[in-house]
């Protein structure tokens, strides 16, 4: 017989390193032709920090994505970043880069203000132009402004920025600000359990992250999906210890050889094991975050497994207390009643 069940899990996560100073910094140069170069220690491990930094700079400077070059993670030439850890880069690198861009804008706006005869704090960057906010017809092209800053106003549009997360440790009453902001993730899982074999089929996974503003929504969706699938293996199959049967060394059924001997029988989910997936995000804007962003990093792996375990319990009343929830363990649970 097959029985279905649903389960939910949610979690809260801190971001940036919470108990030690962990700055990030960036240099931004706008060249005389209006292109921009960013240097930062922030290292893209494949999570997409360079993409996100470029997007934020493009938005802040109002210039095309393709006009921005980012150099990262070179200890000889790029300014300090603590590391690609604690899901911190979008937030700290974003704030460092935006701070550097503020200095760049000060220089460029001085040039444009002179040229247009307006106050510098009434100018905006958008669509490759620096324009007067009350009359879009009054503008200077970004590249023209860059050129004139260099050779007319004699000020280079360069800037540097840094950001140190707060790290206010908690006191004896548990009060403090160890993390600048918190973000959230939840999963709903629907499973079908075969009561005669203990096999679990995950029918649906619905996963959401609250990452603040999603700077790159497609990357966030990919991240949430990846975390959900990782959780699938973690919840149901992956283990290197011979305890997948649910019996311990004290039992005569324990076999120390009951374990995968290589990755080929480790049991990572295949394309055929994929559930129906819905992976997305909600945006609860973080006022302190760069463009309101928080993070969408490590958190995504957290709630899939407990949601699946809860769904198994909902389906057949078996409470699994150590992962993975293998068919053997579930069958033992069912037989025990």
């Amino acid at each position: 017989m097959k029985k279905r069940g649903k389960g939910v899990a949610v979690c809260i996560y801190s971001q940036t390193i919470t108990n030690a100073p962990n700055p990030c910094s960036a240099y931004v140069q706008v060249k005389e032709d209006g292109s921009a170069v960013i240097q930062t220690g922030a290292c893209d491990l494949g999570q997409g920090s360079t993409t996100v930094i470029t997007q934020m700079a493009s938005e802040a400077l109002g210039i095309d994505f393709g006009k921005i070059t980012v150099h990262t993670a070179d200890t000889e030439t790029t300014p300090f970043d603590t590391g690609s850890v604690s899901s911190r880069l979008t937030y700290v690198a974003g704030k460092a880069v935006l701070a550097a861009i503020e200095e760049v804008k000060n220089v460029l706006f001085t040039t444009v203000a002179r040229k247009l005869g307006v106050k510098p704090d009434r100018l905006i960057c958008k669509d490759g132009k620096i324009s007067y906010m009350y009359d879009p017809q009054k503008y200077m092209s970004f590249s023209q402004a860059a050129f004139e800053a260099h050779f007319v106003d004699r000020r280079l549009p360069h800037g540097k920025g840094e950001y140190y997360p707060q790290n206010i440790p908690v006191d004896e009453y548990g009060q403090g600000e160890p993390s600048d902001t918190y973000y959230y993730h939840g999963t709903v899982a629907e499973v079908e359990v075969d009561t005669e074999t203990g096999e679990v089929d995950v029918l649906k996974l619905f996963a959401l992250v609250d990452c603040g503003r999603a700077i790159n929504p497609m990357m966030v969706e990919g991240q949430v999906e990846g975390g959900a699938i990782q959780a699938l293996g973690w919840a149901l199959r992956e283990d290197t210890y011979p305890y997948c049967t649910g019996v311990t060394g004290a039992s005569d059924q324990f076999n120390p050889d009951f374990r995968p001997i290589s990755f080929s029988d480790y049991g990572i989910a295949t394309a055929m094991d994929m559930p129906e997936m819905f992976a997305s995000n909600v945006e609860i804007i973080e006022p302190e975050g760069p463009f309101g962003a928080k993070a969408a990093g490590e958190i995504v792996a957290n709630t899939g497994a407990p949601a699946i375990i809860n769904a198994i319990y909902n389906a057949v009343g078996v409470r699994i207390r150590d992962l993975p929830a293998t068919p053997e363990k579930i069958l033992r649970g069912l037989k025990a009643g």
């Binding site: 075969d194 005669e196 074999t197 203990g198 096999e199 199959r237 049967t245 019996v247 059924q253 076999n255 050889d257 009951f258 374990r259 995968p260 001997i261 290589s262 080929s264 029988d265 049991g267 989910a269 295949t270 394309a271 055929m272 094991d273 068919p327 053997e328 069958l331 037989k335």
Partner: protein, 292 residues
């Protein structure tokens, strides 16, 4: 892996000569989906590998006088794509679809599955219940071996060191007969069987009684075995859930499951009844639909 000599005979006759010379020290390889893994894991050592995948004479699927004749080099993918096998030998077709994944299915062969002779081999239970025979050949002689006699132990066959499987012959099922295959694995693809069952069911003309039942079990004993007690229990009985359930329970007495890296003996014993029932019901629904 060590070093070895490698030969690639262009035809059967060359292969026979090579086997006559190198026989005992040679490993015959077709798609390599088992041989390469065991060589790399140092579970197999070879002084000499004979790669037979180019021998065109060994790749065919044809029907002749009520018998299906399959060459050993037919790949799993080719079995899946064959309409005749899908319609008339469902258990073999189903086993092919549940084996490994597309890449392995494109290379792995039915002859290789027999030669490796793992009790978890997905083609073996279907061939058992279909009463297949193997034609084996060496330089000097040709033999016909019934599949039930072919396996002598886990990963061991009676195939002689100088011989090759040349052909697999499967008689067509009687008119009111159908077959099925089920397996349990760790995941839905790329998963070696934890337990598997193939069943052939033939019924009385009014489809109300079992005329004959054949059940073969994989990964539940050192070799693939027939569940003779279950078969005996069902022969001539009404086709009915209670009969099937009671008969399936007796399968536990016929298996000798072991605990290995994939499952415990306890688990295999527990799920064997469920698997036998599933295979029987699936075969019955094929029967009802007029498929085989």
């Amino acid at each position: 892996m060590g070093s070895f000599e490698y030969f690639r005979p262009a035809n059967l006759s060359e292969a026979m000569d090579l086997l006559a010379t190198y026989g005992k020290n040679a490993v015959v390889m077709a798609g390599g989906t088992d041989v390469m893994v065991t060589l790399n894991a140092a579970e197999l050592s070879a002084n000499c590998i004979i790669g037979i995948s180019e021998i065109k004479e060994l790749k065919f699927i044809k029907e002749e006088n009520g018998v299906l004749r399959i060459g050993p080099l037919v790949t799993t993918a080719e079995i899946i794509n064959n309409k005749l096998i899908k319609e008339k030998f469902k258990c073999l077709w189903k086993a092919a679809t549940m084996t490994a994944g597309p890449q392995v299915r494109n290379l792995g062969t039915i002859g290789g599955n027999l030669g490796t002779a793992s009790p978890a081999g997905d083609f073996i239970p279907p061939l058992m219940v279909l009463d297949a025979s193997l034609i084996t050949v060496s330089k000097s002689e040709e033999s016909v071996i019934k599949i039930a006699d072919f396996f002598s132990g886990p990963k061991t066959t009676i195939l002689r060191a100088d011989s090759l499987i040349r052909e697999i012959r499967i008689p067509f099922l009687p008119k009111i007969g159908a077959s099925s295959f089920e397996k349990i694995g760790k995941r839905k693809a790329m998963s070696i069987s934890v337990a598997s069952v193939a069943a052939v069911v033939t019924a009385s003309t009014d489809k109300m009684k079992f005329a004959n039942v054949k059940i073969a079990l994989g990964s539940l004993a050192p070799t693939v075995v027939r569940a003779e007690k279950v078969e005996e229990r069902l022969r001539g009985r009404p086709i009915d859930p209670k009969e099937i359930r009671e008969a399936a329970e007796t399968v536990r007495e016929e298996i000798r499951p072991m605990t290995d890296g994939r499952a415990t003996a306890w688990y295999r014993s527990e799920v064997s009844c469920s698997l036998v029932r599933k295979a029987l019901w699936d075969a019955l629904s094929e029967l009802e639909a007029g498929r085989q």
